[in-house]
Amino acid sequence: MRFEGTLDIAAPRDRVWSFLTDPKQVTTCAPDVQSLEVTDPHRFKVVVRAGVGPIKGTFTMNVEFTELEEPGHATVVARGQAPGSAVEMRSTMDLAALDGTRTTMKWASDVTVSGMIQQVGARLMQGAADKITQQVFSCIKAKLEAPVTA
């Protein structure tokens, strides 16, 4: 499954970049995070719960930033498993500064689900993955556009 989109974020590019490439910050927008372990600046392990209705899986994801070209381009590979299933998500993000306060983010994500979820829940996956992806990106936008409270 491939998902892609473009997002206009009312925040400077540096801020967007640091948010997206910081495991601690970016995972605040992942669905229902159970735990986060940062291995090194480029790698982290996050446990999330995601799904639709009663169908909800706990996914243990190993995430790696495979390309980091500050401040404009990043590639992330997330691989993980849920009971009887495996998930792989390869995402790219390209940031362009519109001006000093606004950033355009182009993103694309290839998601592969294998195993039990694919076999039994294939008819739900497209919709669920689409919905979760939308939630993640609207959360990113919302958080970056929120007034800095610190």
Binding site: Q81, S114, M116, Q118, Q119, V120
Partner: protein, 783 residues
């Protein structure tokens, strides 16, 4: 008298029913031993991947989890690979790479079934995905993803096998007046017996004895395999006991050795506790041996008058990641060369290439004798294609070409010696029973109104009863089978045989063979099988071989007893043995019926009053090496109606005429045919397993793997002709699989026939409503 005996030809009610109707059958999951542990298996969600790490720590922390076994744990024991029946090898657990989805990755042993399942869930495996190849045709192309890195040969080609006269066949095609060609794909399917596979392994450390209850169709062969594979661990064949308890259906799926069996045995040896492993349905469908998956290209050469002359077939066989087929060793494509079917082709040439893919290993039969369904489906479909080409009635074209009854024994172009047959008689009977001529008239009338009905014929010839030792062995063990009969002093009998029923009713039918031969009522005969500590060595029940092989052994062992009994009878009758004859189930002095002795009287004497110089007792053993295979046949006719709106195919009638030679128990034979027909219907219209490009199985549970229910299954109509096998001791041929072999072509031919006037020549099975509806739309006749 004969009715009381319940010998051959009587519909004796089944003895085994008594326990099954009370819920007292003993299947493997019913075995519960003190201190028993449960094994469950973590499986790969990916079809091809490198295993970077397996983290078992969370699983081991769960209270009740006793052990977690990974491939690395098996390396020091040299148990991480095991041999297949086809001179290939198969992973028990991977050490670094998984090759198909649902492959075993680790095993959890726990005190309870539920805890073992929790343990499986808690295992974390870090996989690195690798490219996947699921299409055998792509797999054989240069540069394809390599499935088996462990082999020296660095491509996905397993073997090439060919039979027949290539040059002669090519010439016949060059000279032919008419050639028809058809590509057919016979998809991957799964036997899906209602009981899945399982084992209870119990190793007694003090005695060094391993006892195994296992869902196996071939307990003796399994014992030998265990001894050969695990001999280095101290398991010797005299200290291995394999018990096949009641089996809830086999159909070929319970012939191979699966990794779960090895893991359970290994876990019991390591822990000293009994270990049970019962797979669930998803594991059963997704990881156990599949059937079929043949990509076939077939050509038939004929004269304009319809005389069939030559047959040329090229096939690619998808075996998944390991060639774990269950075939006789000499025949990597099984008995596929029965493909000349019921017709006297002068020339034929068949070649098959095996390919590896990232799919589960196999393949086994699906209620058929080693690729015979693939063969029968191909030839019976191809004959219809020829009929369409020549605008001939398919029944008439078959009648014109059948091997005539006078030609038997008949040697086929591919070298089989058919024992006996009368194909025309079977087809005529089927046509009469279904009212063929009337149906053709009805069809014409319906066509005129735009309605779609079709009539399909399949006149198949099967090849079963493997097999003669000169050609047939599995891992070198010749494919004989055995019987041991003991007549007790009071005239009651114990029969032990080397085969194993999975529902075929051996306890009844083998008793009937002995009853017929010894004149002892079937009620007084106990039949035992499936326990290697007591039963004589045999190769097991599959490929319709029980009656042809073990049935032969049983009849001959009984005759050995009768020979000795005759001497005792003569002694009791104070007559010369030459003056004593076996008549009306008794020994009589020739011409003096009043002077007679029953087998019961003789049996008592065998222990109390046997002639001086003769050994006491009355028992015999026979290991029967059949002189030839048997060739059951039949003609099936199917009538279908097609819904022009939805494309649904509705089977209106189905008449099956079978000829399996001498019938031991007509009730059981009819039941076998009903079941076989339903397993012929299933792949024709419903069942298949496919894979997406990532190697995800599609159809891996009963939600999507569509076994027909009572609503899809028509009310089968059966009839028979009887053409005994001349070489079999009682003339029987075997029947368990005929209908599965013959039915798919009749159904497919009926659907194609319904659409033939629109120019349709072939539809691959399963014939789903959307395949049909697509054609209706293309031809402009959809509602």
């Amino acid at each position: 008298m004969a009715v009381e005996i319940g010998g051959i030809g009587h519909s004796v009610k089944r003895k085994e029913d008594a326990r099954f109707i009370r819920g007292k059958g003993k299947y493997v999951d019913d075995v519960k031993l003190p201190g028993m542990l449960y094994l469950d298996i973590a499986r790969s969600p990916l079809a091809h991947a490198r295993i970077k790490n397996i983290d078992t720590s969370k699983a081991l922390k769960i209270p009740g989890v006793v052990a977690v076994i990974t491939g690395k744990d098996l390396v020091p024991l040299n148990l991480h690979w095991m041999p297949t029946l086809m001179s290939d090898k198969q992973m028990v657990l991977p050490t670094d790479t998984v090759l198909y989805q649902a492959q075993e990755v680790a095993a959890v042993v726990a005190t309870e079934r539920y805890i073992a399942a929790d343990g499986v869930d808690a295992i974390e495996v870090d996989y690195e995905p690798l490219p996947v190849v699921v299409d055998p045709i792509k797999a054989l192309q240069p540069g394809a993803t390599l499935v088996r890195e462990d082999r020296e040969q660095k491509d996905n080609h397993i073997w090439h096998w060919e039979v027949g006269d290539k040059a002669g066949t090519d010439k016949a095609f060059k000279d032919a007046e008419v050639v028809v060609k058809q590509d057919l794909y016979i998809p991957r399917i799964h036997v899906s017996s209602i009981e899945t596979c399982g084992i209870v392994a119990s190793f007694d450390k003090v005695e060094g004895k391993l006892t195994v209850w296992m869902t196996t169709q071939a307990p003796h062969a399994i014992r030998t395999v265990i001894a050969l594979v695990a001999g280095h661990l101290g398991l010797a064949e005299h200290k291995i006991r394999v018990i096949s308890p009641d089996i809830g259906g086999g159909f070929g799926g319970k012939v191979p050795v699966y990794p779960g069996y090895v893991l359970a045995i290994g876990a019991s040896v390591l822990t000293g506790a009994p270990v049970k492993w019962i797979e669930d349905r998803a594991e059963n469908i997704q990881a156990d041996s599949f059937a079929r998956d043949y990509h076939i290209s077939a050509e038939l050469a004929a004269k304009k008058d319809g005389t069939m002359q030559a047959l040329r077939v090229k096939t690619i066989a998808d075996h998944g990641a390991f060639d774990a087929a269950a075939n006789p060793s000499k025949y990597p494509a099984g008995l596929f060369h029965i493909i000349t079917g019921s017709y006297p082709f002068e020339k034929s040439f068949v070649e098959v290439d095996g390919a590896y893919t990232n799919k589960p290993p196999g393949g086994i039969a699906y209620r058929c004798s080693f690729r015979v369904t693939e063969a029968a489906f191909t030839i019976e479909r191809l004959v219809d294609v020829l009929a369409l080409e020549l605008k001939r009635d398919p029944a008439e074209l078959r009648m014109q070409n059948f091997i005539p009854p006078t030609a038997f024994p008949y040697t086929s172009a591919l070298g089989w010696e058919y024992d006996s047959g009368d194909y025309g008689r079977a087809l005529r009977l089927a046509m009469d029973k279904i009212g063929y001529a009337e149906l053709r008239k009805e069809q014409a009338a319906k066509r005129a109104k735009g309605e779609l009905m079709g009539i399909g014929i399949s006149s198949f010839t099967e090849i079963v009863g493997a097999g003669p030792s000169k050609n047939f062995d599995i891992l070198g063990i010749k494919m004989f089978d055995s019987a041991e009969i003991r007549v007790h002093p009071t005239g009651k009998v114990m029969v032990r045989i080397g085969v194993k029923s999975q529902g075929q009713g051996h306890e009844t039918t083998f008793g009937q063979i002995v009853a017929e031969e010894l004149g002892i009522p079937v009620a007084d005969i106990a039949v035992e099988e499936g326990d290697t500590d007591t039963a004589p060595y045999g190769l097991g029940t599959y490929a319709s071989r029980s009656t042809p092989v073990a049935g032969g052994a049983t009849a001959i062992a009984a005759r050995k007893i009768r020979e000795k009994a005759k001497l005792i009878a003569a002694h009791l009758l104070e007559a010369n043995p030459d003056d004593v004859e076996w008549k009306d189930y008794k020994f009589q002095v020739k011409g003096v019926p009043a002077k007679s002795k029953t087998m019961q009287e003789v049996a008592f004497a065998a222990y109390t009053n046997h002639p001086q110089g003769m050994e006491a007792g009355l028992e015999a053993v026979d290991y029967y090496d059949p002189p030839n295979l048997t060739f059951p046949f039949g003609s099936y006719i199917c009538v279908v109606d097609i819904d022009r709106g939805t494309g649904e195919v509705k089977i209106r009638r189905f008449v099956a005429v079978d000829d399996c030679g001498t019938i031991i128990n007509p009730m059981i034979v009819e039941g076998q045919i009903h079941g076989g027909l339903t397993m012929g219907l299933a792949p024709a219209l419903y069942e298949q397993i496919t894979y997406d490009e990532q190697g995800n199985i599609q159809g891996g549970t009963f939600m999507d793997y569509l076994l027909p229910t009572a609503m899809e299954t028509p009310n089968w109509e059966t009839a028979k002709t009887t053409t005994p096998s001349p070489h079999h001791p009682i003339g029987a041929k075997g029947v368990g699989e005929s209908a599965t072999v013959g039915a798919p072509a009749a159904i497919a031919n009926a659907v194609v026939d319904a659409l033939a006037h629109l120019g349709v020549r072939h539809i691959d099975i399963p014939i789903t409503p959307w395949k049909v509806q697509k054609i209706l739309k293309e031809k402009g006749v959809a509602e």
